[in-house]
Amino acid sequence: MSESLPNDRGQNKASARILAVLCGFASDTPEFGITELSNVLDMTKNMTYRALTTLVEQGYVVRTAGGARYQLGYRVLELQNNALADPDLRALAAPAIRQIFDLMGETVNLLIRVRDYAVFIDGIETRRAGTYRLEIGGLRPLHGPVSGLVMLAFGPDAEIEDYIARHPSLNYPGREARTEAQFWAEIDAIRERGYGQMLHPGALPMLGVAFPIWSADDKLHGVLATGGPAERVAPLLEESMGRLQQIMSELISRTRLYPARRSDWGFG
């Protein structure tokens, strides 16, 4: 079968590959070589080269000054519409939320920071018994859930010290009391790991994991978190952590295009 023929859904495979190669440039990487791009897209070098040739002909990709590499072309400026707003964090994160839910089967939450609170803004709640709830608009103090700790951990130390000064008890329902030193140890562990993981003891021990969503200016847009009963989630996390991190990496390659401050997105 010729590769230019449509597949079962009526999609044209060769064109789909060309569009996929162009998608590869929707990241904070300014230019690619063929080998590099074919690795990122998991395509053969030959397919990548052919797609690039078409994209150069169309003007959506141009060769760099040296001629050996490729960069995004100015004709992508034609693909805009004044009447449409830029996507927001919920739109950017929606595919990752769905993928993580499909992978884990547990509740997935998207949270942002508002002052000293983590706020639920989107997600999918599982129908399984014993679960973290998704409460859109709900607030949690930053020292409570693992998502809040991640928001604190990737800020400067001085900001964390100020936070502790405002909330000296660091108590949170369902958690054992902790000292300031223990709190800092939790922060350090998150920084070292690059994401947060926390076991809430109790009648039904719950295990949560939270990933930072990075912006163009190396600040956090928010956090994507999932979790559930430890007995169910721990083995799943062990086998799925690689895929989870891959999903997050794909999401962050897009969120890194936008600055952290929302007012800078659409026009800034």
């Binding site: 009526g10 990241s27 959506y60 400026l77 693909l79 519409n81 004044n82 009447a83």
Partner: protein
Amino acid sequence: MTPPSRRAAINSSASHVFEVLRFVAEAAEPLGVTEIARRLNLPASTVHRALVTLEEANYIQRYQNTPCFELGMMPHLLNRALLNHFALHSYSRPQLHALAAETGHTVSLWYRLGWYGIRIGGAFGSQDIHHRARLGETDLLHRGPGPAAILAYLSSSERQAYARFAKAKFPELPPIGGWEEIEDRLAGLRTRGFARQSLPIARDFHAVALPIYDAREQVVGSLMMEGEFDEVNPSQEMHKAREDIEAGLRAEPKRFESPFSHIDVDEIYIRIIDSNDQP
């Protein structure tokens, strides 16, 4: 090696896909298969296949569960990625926000790319009542005060080269008053030191734009402010913001070079449509 006939089929299919994508991008409202096929004079089956391919890859999306399509997320991401390659886009952000906050007016930064101006930065002012401006907006240098504040300060030979390009590629988009009057208008702009234009949004709404110079004393962009003005002149705050941006350009000229500086200006072609001609 791909046989020529098969290769031609791939290119033809890809060119239909991009043709449909550009059409959806330019449309004033979401469009369905039949309408797109009719307007592009393509078989409905070809358009259907192109739409499925584009939707799968996130370039277009269904409009509110209807069989009509509008731009999806991917073109937004590509545009944002392109803007991020212009160092001035993120560098100018604090200055633009400070200027918008101080004056309450919407401000934009236009940058020269070939014979076009691109809006690469901006901040809405608190007094903004209606604005559809967006980053990445591109126009010919003779259209609008932002691009015109760049055109006016090009050398005489560059302005002649520009006129040749614009007349050849965009005969349907002549300057207001025609090509015969443009030199006088640009001379007036240079005498004044800034571009200005009344905006149709409301009475007393205007735009003013100041040229921005780089380290070589070449005009590479312009700073534009839009809003309700008592006097249609650039404010002191606007001059100060321009100075701050120019200081950055002078301090690190290499960093702020255009990502397309290696391409001949006449080769840079970006399709511009008059907003009145939108499908």
